[in-house]
């Protein structure tokens, strides 16, 4: 069997698990609905199987193929059992008006397809070339396969840079190697491309509930065209999946605010748990989204934000225990505990000013993120009076996210100029991709007649 056939099998597994979960939640229970939700199913399956693989590794197993198949059967079986209790709910889709709106939608979708096709060919011949990818993300994945799990001896999982980063990304990459039948780094960019295609499919079906095609497809094309996003596709840097997971979670959370559909909160939870197990920042984004939901949806459903925060915290506990049991040192880049030391912070106030001066430019960079962040901010501000909760959620996510980013540079022990210049183009990715994805939702809400504004 060729390596590429193995990759297709892995993605079929993700698709199957995700489709079972969507059926269980009552989101897609017919063949037609399942086809429409294929992209969402793929990324949901990837998030769940990646989470399961991470937990298997933490438990001391190797996350080998048969263990992953058993985990997939358990997750899919549990989801299908859920289908007996959870009723199906109707999914709404907005249609185009005839004429020019249809032409804009078709042109936007065609541009996206053509661009994704070009990215496919680049991914087909690419290899991970980014420093962090070959310095620790991909070698960690290789070591999982070669040494049968999270090996703590010389040359093993913990011997690479940032050994305390959670294991989702290396675990998911190791599954690609296992299904490909060998450690072949040349198949990784293609697998990332498949997930990116699923990401756009997921955004299309989620946003299509409230965004008409003539706004949706050009906006998704804008997201794909962002040079910073294009650079990340197939890079094997964890910033790529983190941006996708947090964006999907953020969009589900925003839609939950508008529609009060608990199924969207469950999807947000799945993505946030995966993000938490992907990178240290993932937990911070999960808590940020949960806290913002609690604040803006106060008086409605306190249980959903609480459950999202609890899921993320519970998900990271096994990893923290594993780190402690194996005496793995924390990253030397920064220590959140330093935030509680006023003297330390005061001594480093110069770093904060440097960060405030230099970092926001990365978020507003045309060369990296085009107009995504300013457009999202402008639209969110415009909607303050008519969509207060959505507006507050989007503004809060961007503003607090940027503030968190500045804080990391403030408390970090790395030389500030070097640290910003080598990381800010990537650490800005998550909020920039979220901004680009939320633009069509905000634009559609701005154009929605008053009689249609009720969820």
């Amino acid at each position: 069997m060729s390596a590429y056939a193995g990759v297709v099998l892995l993605d079929a597994l993700y698709l199957g698990v995700g489709a079972a979960v969507l059926a269980g939640l009552g989101i897609a229970r017919t063949l037609k609905a399942a086809a429409l939700h294929a992209g969402l199913a793929l990324v949901v399956g990837w998030a769940l199987i990646g989470t399961a693989a991470s937990l298997l590794l933490i438990a001391g197993l190797g996350a080998v193929v048969w263990q992953i198949l058993v985990a997939a059967v358990i997750v899919a079986g549990a989801a299908l059992m859920l289908a007996r209790r959870v009723p199906a709910r109707r999914t709404r889709r907005l249609r185009n008006a005839a004429g020019w709106q249809t032409w804009i939608a078709v042109a936007g979708a065609a541009a996206l397809v053509v661009y994704l096709e070009a990215l496919f060919w680049r991914s087909r011949f690419a290899e991970p070339t980014a420093w962090d990818a070959w310095a620790f993300w991909v070698p960690k994945a290789k070591s999982i396969v070669y040494f049968g799990g999270l090996d703590t001896s010389a040359g093993g999982f913990t011997s690479f840079a940032n050994p305390d980063y959670p294991p989702f990304a290396p675990a998911a990459e190791s599954l690609v190697f296992r299904f490909a039948g060998g450690v072949r780094t040349d198949v990784l960019p293609l697998q990332h491309w498949i997930l990116v295609a699923g990401f756009f499919g997921a955004l299309a079906v989620l946003l299509g509930r409230r965004v008409p095609p003539w706004i949706l497809w050009p906006s998704l094309t804008l997201l794909a065209l962002m040079p910073g996003f294009t650079r990340l596709v197939g890079s094997s840097l964890a910033d790529e999946p983190l941006a996708m997971l947090v964006t999907l979670a953020g969009i589900c959370a925003a839609l939950w605010l508008l529609e009060d559909d608990a199924r969207l909160a469950v999807l947000a939870g799945i993505f946030l748990v995966a993000g938490t197990l992907l990178k240290n920042e993932g937990l911070l984004y999960a808590l940020l989204i949960a806290i913002l939901l609690a604040v803006v949806a106060r008086g409605r459903r306190a249980v959903v934000p609480g459950a999202l925060a609890a899921a993320a915290v519970i998900a990271i506990v096994p990893w923290k225990l594993w780190l402690s049991a194996n005496d793995v040192p924390r990253t030397a880049l920064y220590d959140p505990a330093d935030l509680l030391r006023p003297g330390y912070l005061a001594d480093r106030s110069g770093r904060l000013w440097t960060a405030v001066r230099d970092v926001p430019g990365y978020f507003f960079s045309w060369d990296a993120w085009l107009v995504a962040v300013p457009l999202a901010l402008l639209l969110a501000l415009a909607l303050v009076g008519v969509r207060a909760r959505l507006s507050a959620f989007v503004l809060g996510t961007i503003v607090v996210g940027v503030a968190g980013n500045l804080t990391v540079y403030w408390v970090s022990r790395e030389p500030i100029d070097w640290y910003i210049s080598t990381t800010a183009d990537r650490t800005s990715a998550t909020l920039a991709v979220f901004s680009a994805a939320v633009v069509p939702l905000l634009a559609a809400e701005a154009l929605r007649p008053r009689r249609m504004r009720a969820g």
């Binding site: 009552g26 040359g155 050009p218 559609a444």
Partner: protein, 162 residues
Amino acid sequence: MATVRQPALSLRARTVSPVRAAGVASVCVVLAVVALKTPQALNSITDQARTLAALPASQRELLGARSADLDTRLFVEARRRIRLGETYAVITGPRVAVSIESTRDAVAPFARYYLLPRRQTPEPTAADWILSFGGDADALGLRFAERHVVAPGVELARVAHP
């Protein structure tokens, strides 16, 4: 599950509110940027794909090292000579001129990436092989069974264990 199609959003309104104006303006900006950027981005990606496709697979695997301006012959030679169960250590030093400061820092991590499942050890005395990129292998106080000079200042040495 049934799909319910909702009516389309109409741009026709008796009054133009600031909110709707912001919505219309933002969609116009999106369309303009997409129209402006698509041809340029497509050309760029197609060129990248063409360049990558023209390289042999063995060269593509070394692109990460090339981006750090590393002499990749050391890694290719090490993969050829070091057996899968053997260990190695990396030493670096000033005996090789480098164009960027980070080149020496890249040697050990790229060796880990490229040479797995051969294990890298931080302690040269515990290693079966030494990969030297501008380092002084003689200063380690080890006896060597083989030495292979890959390039001036770049060598691979097999440690003679007692």
